[in-house]
Each structure stands twice: as C-alpha cells, then as structure tokens.
Amino acid sequence: MPVLPALRSLLPGLRRGQAVSVDEVGALATALVAGASENGAWCAVVGLPEYGVLAAARSGVSLDRLILVDDPGERWAEVVAILLDAVEVVVLRPPARPSVTEVRRLSAFARRHGAVLVVAGVPWEGAQVRLRVVSSVWTGLGDGHGHLRSRRVRVVAEGKGRPRAEWLWLPGPDGAPTPAGLATVDDHEPVVELSVAG
C-alpha cells in the first residue's frame, strides 16, 4: 500500500500484514496512513478519543472511509481482530501495556488478513518497523505575535536494515506533510525559529 511521497525515503510503502509502531499518537501516525487512505483503503482508529480528525483530513485521510472506535474498553483486542478482517489499516493505541499473547495474536491476525496494524504511543513487540520523532521545532510563533505555521521534525525509521532518518515538515505550511531538505528550508518564507529540542 502506498505512503505519502514525503515518507517514501523512510519506508517505501506499507506492506500488507505488517505491524508498524509509532512513538507519538499525533501527526506522524496520521501521516503514515494518509497515503493508503487517499488510495481507497478503509482505516479504523481504535482507542484514540483525542484523534485530531481535522488534521487527518488536511493531511489526506479520507473521512468517508474512516471508522472511529474511541473507547473499546476491556475487549479491545477482540475489536481490533474483527476490524483487521475488514479494513486495510487499523491504528491502535492499546489501553495499557498489552500482554505477549495479545501482541502475538493480533500480529498473526494482521498477517493472515493482509491488513496493516499501526500501533501508536505504546511499544509493540511484534512491529517490523518502528518510527520515532527525534527532534521537533515549531515555526511561526513570535513573542506575543504570529501563529503556528509548520513543524520541522527528524523522523527515524528502524527496521531490519540500517536505520533511516529524514527531515520532514509535519505538518507542512498547507497542512500536508512535505519533505524538508535544505532546499525546502530556503524556499520557505522567512519564519522565526524559536525552539530547538532533542
């Protein structure tokens, strides 16, 4: 399944049956599924009542093919298993630290049904690819003036081979993720960079 062009250098696409873990619940998890959603895949978001639907729509997720299960409660694993059978991508934040059997069972389910399981916010043993945000800078805010414009992040993808890292605008000036090579930084309108974090 395709991913957004900005993310291609990190991972070429989402392979069916794969489990991917993302360390934050926000823009990165959304950007990861936006490519598939744009191309007609159904997505389900389980256990994320704070999921920013508006931001998802801006980054390319199709709201017509989005299912939200805000509070799956105790039977979350069963809910995810049912959804993996029907939709292409399931974004999940398990309520607590999941047990090893649950992790194994759901990973096997994803493999069998050819669906992608994106686990956000919680470490997931069975993940083939792990994405992390290692640095993040917001631009556009002054000292009492301006407004947030975009965020420059460094994302690291760890999988089987050598880890890959990439600078991204997440979100970019128009709300969609864009690559942030040095050239893009020059092209970008002059903004006040205020905060740097590691």
Binding site: V53, R58, V69, V79, D85, V87, L148
Partner: protein
Amino acid sequence: MSGARTLVVWCPDWPVVAVGADAGTPAAVVSGGRVVACTAAARNAGVRRGQRLRDAQRHCPALDVHAEDPQGEARRFEQVAAAVEVFCPRVEVVRPGLCAVPARGPSRYFGGEQVVVDLVRDAVAALGVDCAVGVADGVFAAALAARQEPAGAAGAGVVVPPGATAGFLAPHPVSTLGVAQVRPETAATRAEADALVELVGLLVRLGIRTLGEFAALPAGDVLTRFGTAAAAAHRLAGGLEPRPPATRPPGEDLGASMTLDPPVEQSEPLVFAAKSLADRLHSDLAARGLACVRVEVEVATEDGRRRSRLWRHDGLLSSRAVAERVRWQLDAWRTGEPGDPDALVGGVVLLRLAPDQIVADAGRQLALWGQNMVDDRVERAVTRVQTMLGHPAVTRPVLAGGRGPGEQVLRVPWGDRLEPRLPADGPWPGRVPDPAPAVVPPSPLPAVVTDESGRVVSVSGRSEVSSPPAWLTVADGSPVAVTGWTGPWPTLEHWWDAVLARRRARFQLATADGRAWLLLVDRSRWLVEAAYD
C-alpha cells in the same frame, strides 16, 4: 376502472393546527424561509403558502411564526386517524392532515354514505379539530370534494354521487392535481412534486386550464408526449384511480416464529432455523409488495424469559444476513459478563423474527459504479463491533462549523444520519488558523501558565496579558519552558444566549520539548484545548 368509493377526511392548515396555533390568531409554519401553512386569520391579512417569510411579515407584522415539525404533525394526526378508524378500520394516511378510507363497507353497515360522513365529522370534531369530509370515486376526487365544503360551517360534507366524479372534476383548474399528494420529504417524492408542478405549468402554457380539458386529451398521446407521471395525472383528471389505496387489515401478523422442542442450546441449529424463518418473512413481505425498516429478533428460553433486539433492515438484507445477525445477537447475549443476570442461559424454546415499521417496497436502484455503497465487509465488521460495545461506540467523523478544533468535528454513530447543525464551509471569523492540531482531547485538560516570577498569567477584560508566559504545566506534569507564544485571541460566543454565552481567549504556545499547544483562558482558568504534535 373508475376509483372505488372513498371517503377523505381533510384537516385544513394541518401544520399550523399541529403546532397548537389558534385559527383566530395570525400564525404560520415556515420551512426554509417560506410559508408552508398559515391560519385563516393570517390568510385574511394577505399571507399565502409559498410566500417568503419576509413578505409574509410585511403583510402581517403580528404573524406568529413556528418552525415546521413533521414528526409532531404525524404524531398528532395519529389521533385523528384513530378516531376515524373506529368507524372505518382501513385508514390510509396520505399525509398528515389528509387520510382516506374505502367508503363502501362502512356506508352499507351504517346505512348510507351521508350517515358515515356525519359520524366521522362528529368523531373528529370531538377531538377539537376542524375537518372537512368528502366522498367520491377515488382519493383525488374525494379530497377535492372535501375542499368544496365551506370552511368552518357546520356543513354536511360533500358527497359526489357514484359515476358523477368525472363531471364533478371537469371545471376544476389543473393546478388542483396535487391535492392528494404525499408529503414531499424524500428525494423521490420531492422529484414527483416538482414534476407535477412542471406539468401543470406546461399544460397552462398549452392552453389546457381545467381538468375536463386535460381529461379530453387521448390517453395514449398524453403518455407518449409527457411520460408516465403525466399519464397517471391524466387518469386522475378523468376520475380514474392511478393506484389503489395501500391499506392493510389491522392486526395482521407478518412475523415468523418457530417453537423448538426439545429446547436447543447450540447456536448452529438456531442460526439454521433463523435462516428459514427469514426466508419465510421475506417471501411473506415480498408477496404483499412490502419491506420492513427494522427486523426484531426475539428469543425465549426455558426459564421463561424473553429477550428481543431490533436490527435495521431497510429491505436490504438477505435471509443469510438476517440469520447472521441472529447469530451475533445470540453470541452477544451468551457471552455477557460472568454472573450477569441478563446473560442468556439454558436452551432456547422459541425464536421469532418480526418486521418493524412496514413500508411499501419501492425497489431500489444501485448507483451505477456502486460509489455510495459501503463495502459489505466493513459494514459487517462494524455491526459486529456495535453488538459488542453498543451502537454509539463506533462513529464516523463529519466536519461541522465552529471556531475551536473540537467543535469542527462531529462523531456520528455508524448507521445514523446526522447533518451538522452548523455548516462547515461558512465563514467563521475568529477560527483558529491552520494547521489543525493533531491531538484534540475530548474535554479540555486543566493547565497552569506562569510568568518568570511564578505568578499565574491572567488576561484582562481589554485583552491585555498581565505578563509574558514563561512556564506551562499540563495536568499533573512538570513545568516546561515556553519558547514562543501568541495571543490572546478573544472570542465572545453566543452572546445572545445567557446559557451558552462565553467569553474566552485563546493562546498558542510552543514549549522547549518541541511541542505546541492551543490553550484557552475561560474565567481566568487555563485549559489545554489541543496539542499540535
């Protein structure tokens, strides 16, 4: 074939009557900025149906305006229908305000059409509702006859003798063709109403002004030149019946049930039984040209308890699909919490499927490329999750209007249709600028914003910040240094409503850990409305 003898009860200005307006005072019911119905007093002042509200109020400044309430109209009309049903059991409600009954049976039983008319009039008048009654061949002619009755007078109803209907109709203008139409509320009925308005306009332009002149045209030519809808109208104009009244004898049980002896414990045989019951139910409904909106699954167990659950059907489910729902339902009942008194235990002795809310099966047309169809697989999975967690647990997002990020998204339970109350694409001055935050907690989190010296930052009534924010503490977390900030963006929302009114100010903050926040100051309390990470 000329129409069967039909008695029509017409309650004039029903939408206004249903909202409880008094006929003596000027009042109107308005939908989409236009007058739908008005009282006699308003009519005398110059208010007309279809008029714009602004014009109506110019004619009659004292006009009492009510919003349209279709459910309320139907509910109140149910009383009238019930009163009529006492004398003539097969009542067909054409639309709230107009109902028809076959007149032949009751008139023979009570000894004459005039007697039935008087009985019905008295029964409806006893409810305190003004009505007019007409009897003729067919619903359309009877409705026109009812309109002939002088309003308000203690009239005796208008009875058009059998066979004289065509002559009775002939002098009426063609614009009366729509009097016995159903309410234009769905897309299909609205299209029908529009087509009729167009036809009437066309006939008038062609110089055909009365029903008699229209009826005099050869039926074949009307069909070939104007289409099937016009052909039906042509039959009406000639005093014929376009369709027989779709009545149903009361108390007919269309459900299908099966008694199981000995009681059955396993799901498989029950699902198998459900499949054959669903087959029977569907063929019974299809034989009558009907479909059901919902199907009720009822199960009785050995211990004498009965459980039932409604499933949406809309005439779209196959027998297999119904059987599958029975399986899920049984599973859900059996696998309740341990010790749950409502859990299904023991063998099942009775399984019953009953249709709920019967409608005429109008058939359905699938979109050419199937765009509007939700993937069957997805639909099934979502329904299963809903069985486990309850109907509102699975939602789909709809964009709505609003200023804050939380207000701009509605979560609509899967399977429900809900239009946002406020349009998403309207101008929203004061809307928080893009980008949209990626994390929007369902309810705002408490926070504390302090300045360098540790005092809480406050905003004055004139939107002045006491001192620049330096530290942010979210909920129970530790303080983080603020690296950039902007605001306050004051909003004064719903100032016209004492309950909803709120005066707030928004801030955007970037913090040293690389995150950014949308904060809200409400009565000098800081709240995190959203986070941008």
